[in-house]
Amino acid sequence: MQLCKFKWDIMNFQPNATSGMGVDDNSKNTFLELKRKKIHRYVIFKIEEKKKEVVVEKTGGPAESYDDFTASLPDNDCRYAVYDYDFVTSDNCQKSKIFFIAWSPSTSRIRSKMLYATSKDRIRRDLDGIHYEVQATDPTEMDLEVLRDRAN
C-alpha cells in the first residue's frame, strides 16, 4: 500500500519530464505587474535549487533598454526572462508583445541546462499571457532583430 501511495504521489507531482520545481508567488505577481501595470520592462527569473523554486532575480524599469537587459543575463549560467517589447507596426500602430526568453548559453554547465530545460513547462504554464517564446543558446539568438522578426 505504501508503495502504491508513493508512486501515486510521484505521478501526481511529476506528470511529465518535469523537475518538480515550484513557482513562488512573488514570481507570478511580478509577471502580472509587468503584464498589467507595465511597471517593469523585463524580469529575470532564476532557479534556487535549494528552495526548489523559481524566484525573481532582477527586474528592470520601463526606461531601460534591450542592451541593459542583455547585460543583466549571465554569460555562463541559464536563466528565464520575460521582456516587454514595444514596437510600431507597418500600419503605424504602437504595439507591445511579451517575450519569454529561455536563456541557456552553450558555455553553461550541463546540470544547469538540464534543470532549466525540464522546469520550463511548469513556469510557462504559470505565466499566462506570453505572446512569443525564444530559446537562446548564445547572444546572437536573442538579438533585437530576432524579436523584431518574430513580432512582425
Partner: protein
C-alpha cells in the same frame, strides 16, 4: 549596408577531351555559360556585372535562351532541366527530370514550344523532346546506343531533329510527333556537335576525326565536306553558324579556330584561321565557340574567353578569364591596388578594380596552392607537398622561384610584413621559422598547429591549435618563448590576423566564433562575434584597423566595427555559393571576397 559593386566572374568549367557549349542572346548582347552549380549570364558590354543563377543541386552542363529571350532552360548532370525567367529575379517556371543521366545538349524549337535534350542515360532515355510548359514527351527517339553529345532543331518547316553521339552516328528524326527517319554513319570517331544553319537548309556535323560534313537539312543527303586543305589537325569540338548562314566558326583541339565559307553546293573552304595560343600548351585547346552579332567567341580549356570582331579578323582579340575552381586565397597588393586571387589548382589571377581581369600569373613549378601570402615584391605559397615557394614579382612577371622543404605539409603561412624575409609556417607538429629560403629553426610544439601569425616586425608570433587554444610566443633569433595561452575558442583555430596598427589581433575558429583581442593586455576587445552559423574560413582587417570582416562556410560575410557592440554588424548574405574562402579590404570602404563558386566580388560599404 554593403552593396555589390563588381563581380569578377568565373570561367566556364571545362573538361579535357570534350567540348563545352556556350550560348547567347543577340538582342541583349549576353552570353551564357556554366561553372559548377551556377549558370552565369555575362553582358559583353558590361563585363563587371554578372548575373548568377545558382538553383541547381548538381553541376550544370548547358544553358540556353528561348527564342524570344524571356526564358532560360538549363540542364545539369542529374538529368534535370530547369526553365526560369530571364528577368524578375529568375523565377522558376518549371523543372523536369528529363533523362536518367547527365544532359549534354539542349535546344529550343524555333517557336519556343518544344525542347530537345540529349545526353547520357540508359537505353531509351538518351534523347527526349518535350513541351516546354507541360513536359509531355513529343516523340520516340530510338537509334543511339551510346552517349548523345549534341542535338539540334531545324528552325524552318518541315521540322526535323538531328542528334549525334559517341556511337559515331548522326540520326535524323522527323515530326512532330518525332519518329526516326534515317541514320548516317560517315564519321569515324565521336561526333561532337551538330548544328542547323539559321535559314534551315543545311546542317553540319563535326567530329573528333577532324572532319566536318555538310548535309541537306530536309533529306539528310550528304552535300559536301570541309576541304582538307588547311583543315583542322585535331578533334573539332564545336561549330557555330553565322546569322546569315554563309559562314561557320569551328574550334578544335589543335588550338586554333577556323572560319569557313560554306558554298551553296555544300563545300567548306577556310577563310581565316584564328590562333589564340601564346604558349601552345594543353590549356590552349579550344573547346567552345559562339558566333553572335559581330563577335566570334572562343573558349579554351584553360578557361580563357577570346572575343574576335568579325569586321577585322586580324585584330588581336579581347580576352578575359577567371577561376574555374574554388578561390581559396585573396590578397591585395598595397602599392598598386591590384588583387591577387589563387585557387587550389595553382592558378593565380591578377585583378584591377574597375577593370577586371588583368592576367594570370603562371609558374610551371607550382601545381597546387593551399596558402598564399604576398607583399610588394614577392609571393610566398605552399601547396599540398612539403615545399614553401618564394617567387619574386616584378611588374607582374614572375622571376625564378626558390623553395624550401619544411618537413611536412604547411597548414598556414604568415609573413612578417615589415621584414618579409621572415616567415612563419605552421605544420601538423609545430612551426618552422624561415629566413628567405632557409629554415632558421624547426620547433616541435607538441600540438597540431592549425593557424599562425607573425607580427609585422617579427618579434612575436601567435599560434593556434586544433584544440582552440591560442599560444603567444616571443621570437628571439631562432627560439620561441611562450608568453601566454588564451582559451576562449571552442573549435580549431582557422585564422589569426594582426591589425594593421598592430595594437590588436583577431582570431577565428571552426565553431563560427571570432574574437578580437588587445595585443598588449591580452584581453578580449570585441566579444560575441557569433553571427555566423558555420566554420569561419577567413578574416581581414580594414587598413584603418576599425573594421573586421569574417567569411564563413555559411556563404555570408559579416563586418564588425571595433568600438561598437558585435550586434551592430553588417551582413552580406549569400556572398558566394558554397562558402566564402578569401577576404581582403581594398580600402576602408571596399571589401573583396572570393569563394567556392570561383568568383571574386567587390562590395562597397555605405554608412546607413
Amino acid at each position: 549596408m554593403a552593396q555589390l559593386s563588381e563581380t569578377y566572374a568565373c570561367a566556364p568549367s571545362t573538361e579535357r577531351g570534350r567540348g563545352i557549349l556556350i550560348s547567347g542572346d543577340p538582342k541583349s548582347n549576353s552570353i551564357l555559360y556554366c561553372n559548377g552549380r551556377s549558370v552565369l549570364i555575362r553582358y559583353l558590354d558590361r563585363p563587371l556585372h554578372v548575373h548568377v543563377y545558382g538553383e541547381h543541386g548538381y553541376p550544370v552542363t548547358v544553358a540556353r535562351y528561348s527564342p524570344n529571350g524571356e526564358w532560360i532552360a538549363s540542364a545539369d548532370v542529374s538529368g534535370t532541366v530547369r526553365i526560369w525567367g530571364t528577368h524578375n529575379e529568375f523565377v522558376l517556371k518549371k523543372d523536369f527530370k528529363v533523362l536518367s543521366g547527365r544532359i549534354d545538349d539542349l535546344q529550343w524549337s524555333a517557336d519556343g514550344m518544344r525542347i530537345v535534350a540529349c545526353g547520357d542515360g540508359k537505353g531509351k532515355s538518351l534523347v527526349r523532346t518535350f513541351m516546354w510548359d507541360s513536359g509531355s514527351t513529343v516523340g520516340d527517339f530510338d537509334g543511339h546506343s551510346r552517349r548523345v553529345l549534341s542535338c539540334d532543331f531545324k528552325p524552318t518547316r518541315p521540322f526535323r531533329i538531328v542528334t549525334c553521339g559517341e556511337d559515331f552516328l548522326v540520326n535524323l528524326y522527323e515530326g512532330p510527333p518525332f519518329k526516326f527517319k534515317l541514320s548516317i554513319r560517315d564519321h569515324s570517331n565521336f561526333v561532337n556537335c551538330v548544328r542547323f544553319s539559321p535559314d534551315g537548309n543545311k546542317f553540319i556535323t563535326v567530329s573528333s576525326d577532324k572532319k566536318g560534313l555538310i548535309y541537306d537539312a530536309k533529306t539528310g543527303d550528304k552535300m559536301g565536306e570541309f576541304s582538307s586543305e588547311d583543315g583542322h589537325t585535331g578533334s573539332i569540338y564545336a561549330v557555330s553558324w553565322n546569322p546569315d548562314s554563309k559562314q561557320v566558326l569551328t574550334v578544335s583541339a589543335d588550338k586554333s579556330a577556323k572560319v569557313w565559307e560554306i558554298s551553296e553546293d555544300g563545300n567548306g573552304k577556310v577563310v581565316k584561321t584564328l590562333v589564340c595560343s601564346e604558349t601552345g600548351a594543353v590549356e590552349d585547346m579550344l573547346v567552345g565557340c559562339l558566333w553572335q552579332n559581330d563577335h566570334l567567341i572562343t573558349v579554351s580549356l584553360g578557361g580563357i574567353i577570346n572575343i574576335f570582331s568579325t569586321s577585322d579578323l586580324d585584330q588581336a582579340p579581347s580576352s578575359f578569364s577567371g577561376h574555374m575552381k574554388n578561390v581559396t586565397t585573396l590578397t591585395v597588393l598595397k602599392n598598386n591596388q591590384k588583387m591577387l586571387s589563387s585557387s587550389y589548382d595553382g592558378i593565380i589571377i591578377r585583378w584591377i578594380q574597375g577593370v577586371g581581369y588583368s592576367g594570370k600569373i603562371i609558374h610551371k613549378d607550382i601545381p597546387q596552392i593551399k596558402c598564399l601570402v604576398a607583399v610588394e615584391e614577392e609571393i610566398v605559397t605552399s601547396g599540398f607537398d612539403n615545399k614553401v615557394w618564394r617567387i619574386p614579382l616584378s611588374d607582374g612577371e614572375c622571376g625564378d622561384a626558390e623553395y624550401v622543404d619544411v618537413g611536412s605539409q604547411p597548414m598556414d603561412v604568415s609573413l612578417a610584413i615589415s621584414s618579409p624575409r621572415l616567415a612563419l609556417v605552421s605544420t601538423d607538429s609545430g612551426v618552422v621559422l624561415l629566413n628567405g629560403a632557409k629554415v632558421v629553426s624547426n620547433i616541435k610544439l607538441g600540438f597540431p598547429v592549425t593557424a599562425c601569425a607573425i607580427a609585422p616586425d617579427g618579434s612575436e608570433a601567435i599560434v593556434g591549435g586544433r584544440d582552440g587554444k591560442l599560444h603567444i610566443y616571443s621570437v628571439s633569433g631562432d627560439t620561441l618563448k611562450e608568453e601566454a595561452v588564451l582559451e576562449k575558442h571552442r573549435g580549431a583555430i582557422t585564422v589569426i590576423e594582426y591589425s594593421p596598427d598592430v595594437s590588436m589581433f583577431a582570431s577565428a575558429d571552426g565553431f563560427h566564433e571570432s574574437v578580437v583581442w588587445d595585443r598588449a593586455s591580452k584581453e578580449v576587445k570585441l566579444n560575441n562575434m557569433l553571427f555566423h552559423t558555420a566554420r569561419l574560413n577567413c578574416l581581414a582587417w580594414s587598413p584603418n584597423s576599425t573594421l573586421v570582416a569574417t567569411g564563413s562556410l555559411d556563404t555570408c560575410v559579416v563586418i564588425y566595427e571595433i568600438g561598437k557592440p558585435a550586434s551592430s554588424r553588417i551582413t552580406i548574405k549569400h556572398a558566394h555559393l558554397g562558402g566564402v574562402y578569401g577576404l581582403a579590404f581594398i580600402d576602408d570602404l571596399n571589401v573583396v571576397s572570393s569563394g567556392e563558386d570561383a568568383s571574386v566580388r567587390v562590395w562597397r560599404l555605405t554608412q546607413e
